[in-house]
């Protein structure tokens, strides 16, 4: 029996594992980096061991420290979650060698499946279809890291000419991410769908398929919407893919939870992609349609129990869809965001599950994955699940960091998605980052009016006089906001002597909108006879606006900027917090517009800072390895002109 599990992970999955452990009466031990010291999963832990440092390499990826933490804390088992060390056979071996129970597959199976090249060879010999590779791949082709995952080190190549560069870039990214620069090339299937089979095996020879999940909605090869069952899989295909997955698992002597990923081509043929030897991020959709607790099954299997009848004879009930909430800005190339989640409230609805790593007021550190929560909805039908999930998301408050929430809502309401007509290129065709033209104006008006209500509520002097009262009116009250992607927006408003909003302008233009009495948390705006409530949260520097029209973050522009806050002219600043990977120029160098100057790594992604104009680099202020914060000057460029 397992009595105390060390969860070698962080964020939502650490909490997810702990939740099932608690339900089973098993104690858990958390490990945490310095950046996670105040994180929710640590605050909730009854036992926790610090892993000094902040970077993954110094903390969650340190096999020795994690195993030592398990031993020191009296744990008798280790659950790796997903990511970090979850698919590292050396870690599994170290856990087992330390006399602890490894809640995962045998290291040998992990090792076989860990190399994509090796895995494909195994599958081919086991009769599972695989994509042609190497010289047979042809074009378009996909360059992949053998040790990769999550889309890192992956490049699509459409011609011979691009190949060498893509291979080099992928190898570099793979080397930096996984410590293994091995890459391979395989055929790239256009409009393919990502279908995966959740399989489960015990130590008694049982190996079952828990049916498919479809994960075709991806950005940068990373899944953001997952569902089960797949609208593209019928009973026949389900059985075929399930059999192939079981065959794949059996071929490596697999035990525990695993996922066999397939590419489903438009012609109905499917190809083995890889096997993930761990619990998947998207496992909740399988749980909601099968009624099984996959973490509980993992623990039972690790304890040597046979799979229970419910798992041996699974059935699918209804439909579940999961979305991954990520701290990133889809409209700005998925630029990762970090910082404080000022508010995080998802309405408590029946059949909506929230697996989150943060609560209101928590920080998202810049060092780890940008996904901070998953929201999963279940309904008897697919369209019902999509509707419920979109409603839950659009009624949520996610303030403080930019997220992909609005994008997810648009995906869930997209006709192609609802028709089940999806593939891995969906988001490239439908970026789902469009906003209804001009709604930022309403958001700005709402923010101004609610800000006004808040400030009037707090005044000690003349609180009963109508807001902004004048006996000689010369101008409107004006508030200026800075909205990412829009720029400066100026709102003018005026109240009449009875305290009603009498006039509204945006950038000096009257708005065909009337406003109800602004409250301290919301205001009703009426356009064409339809009133919409805009909820506004006023923070120190920002206003967060939520409505059925979408959500907006507006930076409040100070009426009186300090004269020296404009910064050094010509300085280029870090667009996000991160660490400097490379500095590509030196002092005195001439640069041309668009030339990359500095490469910054943040949230597992590389970002280039490029020259906005031609000129001379007069100062370089950072060096590789430096940690920088948003807005920090990196170098100074003197304009040519």
């Amino acid at each position: 029996m397992i009595n105390r599990v060390l969860v070698a992970n962080r964020g939502e999955i650490a909490r997810r594992v702990a939740r099932t452990c608690a339900a089973l009466g098993i104690e858990t031990v958390a490990v945490f980096s310095d950046a996670d010291e105040d994180a929710l999963f640590v605050r909730e832990a009854t036992r926790a061991v610090r892993l000094p440092g902040t970077s993954s390499a110094d903390t969650y990826l340190r096999i020795d420290l994690v195993v030592a933490a398990a031993l020191k804390s009296g744990a008798d088992a280790v659950h790796p979650g997903y990511g970090f060390l979850a698919e590292n056979p050396a870690f599994a071996e170290a856990v087992i060698d330390a006399g602890l129970t490894w809640i995962g597959p045998p290291p040998s199976a992990m090792r076989s499946m860990g190399s994509k090249i090796e895995a494909k060879r195994l599958m081919r010999s086991a009769g599972v279809p695989v994509l042609p590779e190497g010289d047979e791949a042809g074009f378009p082709a996909l360059v992949k890291a053998s040790a990769g995952g999550g889309g890192r080190g992956m490049r699509i190549v459409r011609s011979e000419a691009e190949l060498a560069g893509a291979v080099e870039a992928a190898a570099r990214e793979a080397e930096s991410a996984f410590g293994d620069g091995t890459v391979f090339v395989e055929r790239y299937v256009e409009r393919g769908r990502h279908i995966e089979i959740q399989m489960f095996a015990d130590q008694h020879g049982n190996c079952v398929s828990l049916f498919e999940r479809e994960c075709s909605i991806q950005r940068r090869h990373q899944k953001i919407v997952e569902e089960s069952p797949s609208p593209a899989v019928n009973e026949v295909l389900r059985a075929e893919m399930g059999a192939a997955a079981v065959a794949a698992a059996r071929s490596v002597g697999y035990v525990g939870a695993g996922t066999v990923e397939f590419l489903l081509a438009p012609d109905g043929r499917f190809y083995f992609l890889e096997m993930n030897t761990r619990l998947q991020v998207e496992h909740p959709v399988t749980e909601l349609v099968t009624g099984l607790d996959l973490v509980a099954l993992q623990i039972a299997v690790a304890e040597g129990s046979p799979l229970p009848p419910a798992a041996l004879h699974p059935t699918v009930n209804g439909h579940a869809i999961e979305v991954r909430l990520c701290a990133e800005d889809p409209a700005a190339g998925y630029l990762p965001q970090s910082g404080r989640v000022v508010d995080f409230d998802i309405p408590a609805l029946a059949n909506v599950r929230v697996d989150t790593g943060v609560m209101s007021g928590d920080d998202i550190p810049p060092y780890y994955d940008s996904m901070f929560a998953k929201v999963i909805a279940w309904a008897p039908t697919r369209s019902g699940a999509a509707r419920l999930l979109a409603f839950a998301l659009s009624s949520s408050r996610v303030h403080g960091v930019a997220t992909n929430r609005d994008q997810l809502v648009q995906v869930l309401r997209h006709p192609e998605f609802l028709a089940g007509d999806i593939d891995t290129g969906f988001l490239e065709r439908n970026p789902c980052t469009e906003r209804v033209d001009g709604t930022h104006r309403l958001a700005a008006v709402a923010a101004a009016l609610v800000g006004q209500a808040r400030s009037r509520e707090q005044v000690a002097v003349l609180p009963l006089v109508p807001s902004g009262w004048r006996n000689v009116t010369s101008q409107d009250q004006t508030v200026e906001f800075d909205i990412v992607g829009i720029g400066l927006v100026s709102v003018g408003y005026r109240f009449d002597r009875n305290g009603a909003v009498a006039r509204l302008t945006v950038d000096g233009e009257p708005l065909g909108v009337t406003a109800g009495t602004p409250l301290t948390g919301s205001v009703l705006l009426t356009e064409n006879g339809v009133s919409t409530r805009f909820h506004v949260r006023i923070g120190d520097q920002h206003a967060y606006v939520d409505s059925l029209e979408g959500s907006w973050t507006l930076r409040l522009v100070d009426r009186f900027p300090l004269p020296d806050s404009a910064g050094l002219a010509g300085s280029l600043v870090a667009p996000m917090p991160g660490s400097i990977l490379r500095v590509l120029v030196e002092t005195g160098q001439q640069v041309i517009p668009g030339q990359p100057l500095v490469v910054l790594e943040a949230m597992k992604m590389e970002h280039q800072v490029v020259a906005p104009s031609g000129g001379t680099v007069t100062q370089v202020l950072v060096a590789p390895g430096n940690q920088v914060s948003t807005g920090q000057a990196l170098l100074v460029l003197e304009d040519k002109s």
């Binding site: 400030s455 009963l464 006089v465 004048r470 000689v472 010369s474 002597r497 009875n498 009426r559 004269p563």
Partner: protein
């Protein structure tokens, strides 16, 4: 609790006629206010803006806390005087960093912001309000100096400007000068006498004599910057305490200074919750009679001004031509004296004298709502001592030391103006409804009196009386007195602190009461209250 009744009938002919008449006057008033916004004229506004400068009201708007109110004082000062309406200056009470301040701003688009006799009067009145109510005094300076053709009317009394700045300082009232442009010669003493001085790079010019005068006086070659630039004053002379980069920066510094003053109100805060009146203030427009001779009940006005329309009337059955009582306005307790039937009889005078003493005893500010034709004349009243009784009332008003706020709702004639705390009796604030009249007596009465005197004079000298000439004289005098008793005429001469849309009365009184509570509220003591 004594809630006033709602007795206004919006459907009555009188209400409609009153409202229509008053609306016409309000429209005229609003039109004049709108004209103020172009200062001395559009071309001067454009030129000013082209120089990258903010208008006087824009400077004030930036200085004020966002969404806070601003009570502009005497905006139409100068109307009908031949000097610019507005007097090339904006003054008013506004909230800066949570503190009510008196703000004075020259309007450089109106004759270069030059000081004429009306400007001086407006400025001195603003300083008087600041001093009496202990309001921090912020001067937004940009003036070409004295209007030289009228220097004889400005030079001697104008010295008071500088005297009062430093006197305020000695009384613990902070004085701040933000110098946006010219502040030369005598004007240099505005920043010169202020506690805190902010000057703006390349903009402020503060010197006793400019380059031409210096050249004439001593032969020295010089320039504006070395004689009086902000940088020189900040680095060399020390006349500037803060060096601002631009106008916005200067206003930021001005706010920063106020934030650190720690200026405290000496009076008590509001006592009640300040509930709104129970009846619609819009209806105030239909209450004052369009025909001055028809009195109206001031309780109908009070019901739309005071908190919760809750009025505890004092002596309601005695001297009923004057309504007295206690209530709250925006939470501040006040005693109210309001004329009802216009005339003040002996009983009304006695009642007022007693009530004013009671308010002093309890340190309660007084609000006077004027609608009076004066003290009653006639044999009976003289013999009953109307002079003596009126004197008691005027005595009480004059020596009362609680703050007074006066609103002329309709008429303020004769000694009634004095007894009901007219301008000469030092109300902390005095506002006028646009329909109101102020004069020694009504035009017809005055012309009639003149006619009778002339007729008697002719008779006594045995001369024939020229009826035709008399009729022409009466018409001319009536027209002149009517014109000179109009609210606009009075406000143009700064005999009030501004005209008030009746619907803004509660707000203006609330702001006035908050301002007066910045100073301590102490009633006159001495004898016990005389029962009269």
């Amino acid at each position: 609790m004594a809630i006033l009744a709602d007795r206004v009938d919006e459907r009555s002919d009188a209400y409609r006629a009153n409202r229509a008449a008053l609306q016409t006057l309000i429209d005229q008033h609003d039109e004049l206010l709108a004209q103020l916004l172009v200062g001395g004229g559009q071309q001067y506004v454009d030129r000013h803006r082209k120089r990258g400068k903010l208008l006087a009201r824009e400077r004030i708007e930036l200085l004020l806390d966002r969404d806070s109110p601003f009570l502009e004082l005497s905006p139409l000062a100068g109307w009908g005087t031949g000097f610019p309406t507005g007097a090339s200056m904006v003054t008013g009470v506004g909230v800066v960093e949570g503190h009510e301040c008196m703000i004075v701003a020259n309007d450089p688009t109106s004759r270069g912001g030059a000081i004429n006799p009306i400007t001086l009067r407006k400025n001195l009145r603003a300083m008087e309000i600041a001093r009496e109510n202990r309001l921090p005094f912020i001067n937004l300076v940009e003036s070409g100096g004295a209007d030289l053709p009228t220097q004889s009317e400005i030079f001697i009394p104008g010295g008071r400007t500088f005297h009062d700045i430093t006197e305020m300082s000695s009384l613990g009232i902070p004085t701040i000068a933000l110098v946006f442009g010219n502040s030369t010669a005598g004007g240099a003493y505005v920043p010169g006498m202020s506690d805190y001085v902010v000057m703006i790079n390349q903009r402020s010019k503060v010197f006793l004599g400019g380059p031409p005068l210096v050249k004439m006086a001593t032969g020295e070659e010089s320039d504006d910057e070395s004689l009086g630039g902000a940088e020189m004053h900040a680095r060399v002379s020390g006349s500037a305490d803060y060096f601002a980069l631009d106008e916005r920066d200067a206003i930021r510094l001005g706010r920063q200074i106020v934030r650190r003053l720690g200026h405290r109100k000496l009076g008590p805060g509001p006592r009640g919750p300040g509930s709104a009146p129970r009846y619609d203030p819009e209806q105030l427009l239909g209450i004052p009679s369009s025909d001055l001779r028809i009195p109206f009940d001031p309780r109908d006005v009070l019901a739309r001004i005071i908190d919760d329309s809750d009025f505890d009337e004092f002596k309601p059955l005695y001297g009923t031509s004057l309504v007295t009582g206690f209530c709250e306005i925006m939470g501040y307790p006040v005693g109210v004296l309001a004329n009802h039937h216009g005339v003040l009889f002996n009983e009304e005078a006695d009642k007022a004298a007693q009530f004013i003493q009671l308010a002093n005893q309890s340190d309660t500010p007084l609000v006077f709502l004027q609608n009076t034709t004066g003290y009653m004349v006639g044999k009976d009243f003289e013999q009953r001592g109307i002079i003596k009784d009126g004197a008691k009332m005027i005595n009480a008003v004059a020596n009362s030391s609680v703050p007074h706020l006066t609103v002329n709702l309709a008429a303020s004639y004769g000694a009634g103006n004095y007894g009901m705390c007219g301008r000469a009796y030092g109300p902390r604030f005095l506002f006028t409804w646009p329909n109101a009249r102020t004069a020694v007596m009504g035009p017809a009465q005055l012309a009639g009196v003149m006619s009778i005197v002339a007729r008697e004079s002719a008779a006594s000298m045995g001369r024939p009386f020229d009826e035709e000439a008399d009729a022409a004289m009466r018409a001319g005098v009536e027209e002149q007195i009517e014109r000179e008793s109009l609210a606009l005429f009075m406000t143009g001469k700064l005999y009030d602190d501004g005209l008030l849309d009746p619907r803004d009365t509660r707000t203006a009184l609330g702001m006035g009461l908050s301002a007066v509570h910045t100073n301590e509220i102490a009633g006159q003591r001495g004898y016990g209250v005389f029962r009269m």
